[in-house]
């Protein structure tokens, strides 16, 4: 029986993108369904009734939700080109860092959005400062540990790609948040997601992504 793999996602979402990278690394063919998050499809609501979010992977009719859970499922189902380490301790470390990065992103992104969408200079500055505070935590950990910046695209590196969204927001706003000077290790990592042929896959096409956020920003500014 042929495998049927569907991915409900959003092209601008780093969480959705992660799943695409994992599937591509494993050479799994899948049908991609772009969701309109303001008008969620009945299928999405049926497959993820608990959180009603993307990404959702549906494999032979069976749905899996939550990006890190999906990534582990993909790694266990299609065993070649492993994304997670085999050693239990290394695996625990990979899970720890992926979770850490996700948690930090949910602290950084609202701050970045605040900076992107606020009308006032003061609010913008506050947003940038907040974002940088959390980026600093990531920078410190990146410098001290050797879990990413590795040669291979693994579980942690794929998860860490969401840092690019911070860089995109900088271009949208014309402000610097993640500077090479303040965050040399993070900056080096982001370069990898821009330059490296393999790491590049983790991020949507640059120009359209920037254009999308510029549009969003424009729309929000117009509505104020």
């Amino acid at each position: 029986m042929a495998e049927e793999v569907k991915l409900f996602g959003k092209w601008i979402s780093p969480f959705s993108r992660r799943i695409e990278v994992a599937l591509k690394l494993k050479g799994v063919e899948y049908e991609y369904i772009e969701e309109d998050l303001f008008n969620k499809s009945p299928a999405l609501l049926n497959y993820n009734p608990v959180h009603k979010k993307i990404p959702v992977l549906v494999h032979n009719g069976k749905p899996i939700a939550e990006s890190l859970v999906i990534m582990e499922y993909i790694d266990e189902t299609w065993k070649h080109n492993p994304i997670l380490p085999i050693d239990p301790f290394e695996k625990a470390m990979a899970r720890f860092w992926a979770k850490f990065i996700d948690d930090k992103f949910w602290a950084i992104w609202p701050a970045v959005k605040k900076a992107m969408t606020s009308g006032g200079e003061k609010e913008r500055e506050e947003g940038i400062e907040e974002a940088q505070l959390h980026l600093n935590t990531l920078e410190t950990q990146l410098k001290e540990k050797k879990f990413f910046g590795g040669e291979r695209l693994g579980f942690v590196e794929i998860s860490a790609s969401l840092i690019i969204w911070v860089v995109v927001s900088q271009e949208v706003m014309g402000v610097e948040i993640l500077t090479q000077e303040k965050f040399p290790a993070l900056h080096k990592l982001t370069q990898k997601f821009v330059d490296d042929d393999v790491f590049k896959q983790c991020v949507p096409p640059w120009e359209p992504l920037v254009a999308y956020f510029k549009d969003q920003l424009g729309a929000l500014a117009a509505s104020k």
Partner: protein
């Protein structure tokens, strides 16, 4: 060479208790070290420099943090006995999803009932009951979330049960009335030695919470 296992934890923590349950399920001997969270030990700060939180499992000198990550590690290393995760990838994904749901929701919502200074108790109570009902639905007619056997999701949730009396007391509701099947499940779990020996006494938890509330000026 014998395994050296140390657990840094804090007795009222439902997260720390999860690790104790997992270690007990596997029949493992370990050294338990109680942490004073207002005066964290140099060992804790060294072993979990990122979050400085308990629980931390130290296995042959190597530290692992985050309770469900620790539980999964224990399950993988000592895989010869009492498997907590099923072998099928889809069922494993479902187990991880629900353990993640417990992690994302229960603690933070529960905080609103016990520690809120902003009048969030009623909202907290409503949300808490909704979560428990969803989980009860997921349990269905199975003896455990793991099906016939006690498993990963059971570990993630059962440790909250010793806090139920405290949630009920401050939220002024009865979890048994709202979710009888879930309460029946907690009693079933408590029949297991690994669970009963790892969970704190609900009345001691209530005293602990009361003490904290006084210190926070809520009581």
């Amino acid at each position: 060479m014998a395994d050296e296992i140390v657990l840094l934890s804090y007795w009222p923590s439902m997260f720390g208790m999860r690790v104790r349950v997992a270690l007990a399920e596997k029949g493992l001997k370990y050294e338990y070290r109680e942490e004073d969270l207002r005066n964290k030990s140099p060992l804790l700060l060294m072993m979990n420099p990122v979050h400085k939180k308990i629980p931390v499992l130290i296995h042959n000198g190597k530290p692992i943090s985050e309770s469900m990550i620790i539980v999964e590690y224990i399950d993988e290393v000592w895989n010869h006995k009492s498997p907590l995760l099923p072998t099928d990838p889809y069922q494993r994904a479902q187990a991880r999803f629900w353990a993640d749901y417990v992690d994302k929701k229960l603690f933070d919502i529960g905080k609103k009932i016990i520690w809120s200074t902003k009048g969030e108790e009623e909202t907290g109570k409503k949300e808490f009951i909704e979560c428990l009902k969803l989980l009860e639905g997921e349990l269905g007619d199975n003896p455990y979330f793991g099906g016939e056997n006690f498993g990963f999701v059971d570990v993630s949730l059962v440790t909250f049960s010793c806090w139920f009396h405290t949630y009920e007391s401050y939220g002024n509701f009865s979890i048994e009335t709202e979710c009888p099947k879930l309460v029946a499940w907690t009693k079933r779990c408590l029949e297991k030695e690994s669970v009963s020996s790892s969970l704190a006494d609900p009345h001691k938890i209530h005293d602990f919470a009361s003490g904290m509330r006084k210190r926070l000026g809520i009581e």
